[in-house]
Amino acid sequence: MNKTSLIIQREYVTRVRKKSFIIMTLLTPFLIALIFVVPALVMSNEDKDFKKIAVIEDGSDLFKGVIPDTKDAEFEYLTNTSLSDIKTTFSEKGYYGVLYISDLVANVPNAVQLISKKQPPIGLLDHISNSLEKEIERQKLLGYNIANLDEILKSINSNVEVQTIKIDEAGESKQTSTGIAMGLAYISGFLMYMLVFMFGSQVMRGVIEEKTSRIVEVIISSVKPVQLMLGKIIGIALVGLTQFAIWILLTLAIVTVVQSKILPEKTMEQVQQLPQSLGQAEPTAAGAEAGTAVTSQMTQIQSLFASAMNQRWGLIIFAFVFYFITGYLLYASLFAAIGSAVDNETETQQFMLPVTIPIILGLIVAMGTMQNPESSISFWFSIIPLTSPIVMVARIPFDVPAWEIALSMSLMLVTIVVCIWMAAKIYRTGILMYGKKTSYKEIWKWLTYKG
């Protein structure tokens, strides 16, 4: 078998079998899923028992039948009953609670009380206060004697969504959403940063381990140092890809499973209710409200979806993969060279700084790029190889000219070749040097050794 693939295999298998890897890989999706699922769980977990609520109004019957029943609650309007009659006995009579509306309700905000033995769910309270507010507004408006009030009310029920239309040089307009582009830029920039740091430093630790355990001399009497270095870099990259693939798949699986257990009934009901409330000839005020809320949500999702489709996904994915691989190779070879030059991890500090600075700078510029993707700082940082993997990936969702991408990518490729060549030279000498503290001057000498 080819030596390099043997090395890749060892690097991969020993890492993937580690307990810490397995635990991290399996646990992280649960943590991520928790972030998605917990809010849904909390929402769906609210009190779903059917509630019968007695409504008592002080003095008048202005609010009779104003609060529509919901699937969880029924409102029974009691006349000829005073609060004191029922206040202590409502639960024996089969009521969940008593809603008391005082005659001051139109003027005093806290003139409505819901008396119950348990904490009522927020949804129920919202439903009650929305219905009452609507009715009070309607009655106040009625006091102005406006003709065709109902039609006017319906027509002023409005909803505004801002769509951004970007016009390219050919004059074609596209519907885009800066939100999507920013989200993409943010996620990819941050992912790159994490990947490069996590796995690049694993390469470094691996090299230091081989050097301090002195196994390296045995191995390089069988294979070329550059094979060992590249085998390690590639093996760890595969570990990273495996971990990410598992994270993504598991997270998706967990989220879908959990949501299919909890959410569908709710969403399905909403969808089913939608045509009804829209189709009603004379919708009640509350019904119309609910209907528009749902439709506005729908249009929002539709427009997000439309602008997502308008992104050049092929290019974005290609760029992400390209910059991930090249960025990783670039930094991992630098990390490998550092690992070979030191005797232990504490000595890495002095060499880590110049490698860390471009990564962090790249991340900062990438964040700025999202505010202003066309600035000259963003431009230069997306061309210069050390920062381009992060900054260019963040810029690409905002339509970067093709020549800039081509320039950035070709510079990257040239840099990688040079970088791996240099790292291999440092590595070859460094792994056999023990004891003395390495300086930059020393490393320069190693670079100029021949053969």
Binding site: K3, L6, I215, V216, V218, I220, S221, S222
Partner: protein
């Protein structure tokens, strides 16, 4: 024909010369001692043989022709600074190293079983290296070095870290390997084992060869006019015109005396003086130990260098 030859090998690093025109010639199926003080250039020479580094000038020959990259499969190397992957299991690690040396997995497995049994380490197959004592790790490493049955074996200080029983075990294995046809280069500071094992030696000091040849010849050459005499009881002969006493030691009812004969001496005269002094049990010419030769040669060279 020598199996291995280094001809006029020179290697310079930025500030120092590690090897300055060193030549060695290792006959087939022999054990060749590579001796020298710390920092003399032994490790550099070994790394050149292993093609880890290349010489600045000079040639390295294996089987009568310049060494080639694929020759690494014919060489087995046990470095002085030994190590294994600490977190990896012994068996897996041995398999990995064997495969790197070009063995197929099944072949490596078969040979590993044989060697693990022979070195009495079969029980450790599934253990992690970090759970093993230093001596155990050395045995594992020894097995992986010889596994691919190389023509040329290079052992750099193979006995450090072993108890006397395991030193004997490894010595026997080295002799066994030579019997089976391997040629061995053996770098060490342990002069006792040089006398015991080596057929030929080269002594390198400050990047240059200062002594080389067959071990027995060298010892004969360096034998001065010294004799060891053993007496029954405590006896201390006094020196005369024929000899002087170098040291005398009384232990367990016997005296061991080392004398240095005068340049022109009569051995019979000396023996007569000895029998006069006490009951002689043994009378032998004293061969210098390799240790003495090593120290004397290196010190002479260094003081010569200091004078110039």
């Amino acid at each position: 024909m020598p199996l291995f030859e280094a001809l006029n090998v020179t290697k310079r690093f930025a500030t120092q010369t590690a090897l300055d025109g060193v030549s060695i010639s290792v006959p087939e199926q022999s054990i060749y001692g590579l001796l020298g003080p710390n920092g003399a250039g032994k490790t550099t020479l070994i790394r050149i043989i292993n093609q880890i580094t290349a010489p600045d000038s000079g040639t390295v020959m294996l089987n009568g022709r310049p060494i080639r990259p694929e020759d690494i499969y014919k060489i087995g190397y046990l470095p002085e600074e030994r190590g294994l992957y600490k977190k990896m299991k012994v068996g897996e690690q041995a398999l990995y190293l064997a495969q790197l040396k070009g063995l197929s997995r099944t072949e490596a497995m078969r040979r590993l079983k044989y060697w693990f049994k022979k070195l009495e380490i079969t029980d450790w197959w599934g253990k992690k290296v970090e759970e093993l004592s230093k001596g155990m790790q050395q045995k594992v490493q020894f097995a992986t070095t010889v596994l691919h049955e190389p023509q040329l074996l290079i052992f750099d200080e193979p006995f450090t870290g072993f108890d006397p029983i395991n030193v004997k075990l490894i010595k026997d294995e080295i002799l066994f390997l030579r019997e089976k046809g391997a040629t061995i280069i053996f770098a060490t500071h342990n002069m006792g084992s040089v006398e015991e094992l080596c057929d030929n030696i080269t002594l390198i000091n400050k990047a240059k060869t200062i002594l080389e040849g067959r071990v027995d010849t060298i010892r004969q050459e360096w034998a001065g006019n010294e004799f060891d005499i053993v007496f029954d009881g405590e006896v201390t002969p006094s020196g005369n015109a024929h000899f002087s006493v170098i040291r005398s030691q009384f232990e367990k009812g016997r005296s061991t005396v080392r004398i240095k004969a005068a340049d022109t001496h009569d051995t019979n005269e000396i023996i007569r003086s000895m029998t006069a002094a006490g009951t002689v049990i043994a009378f032998n010419p004293a061969l210098p130990s390799m240790n003495d030769i090593f120290i004397r040669v290196v010190e002479t060279k260094n003081s010569e260098a200091a004078k110039n």
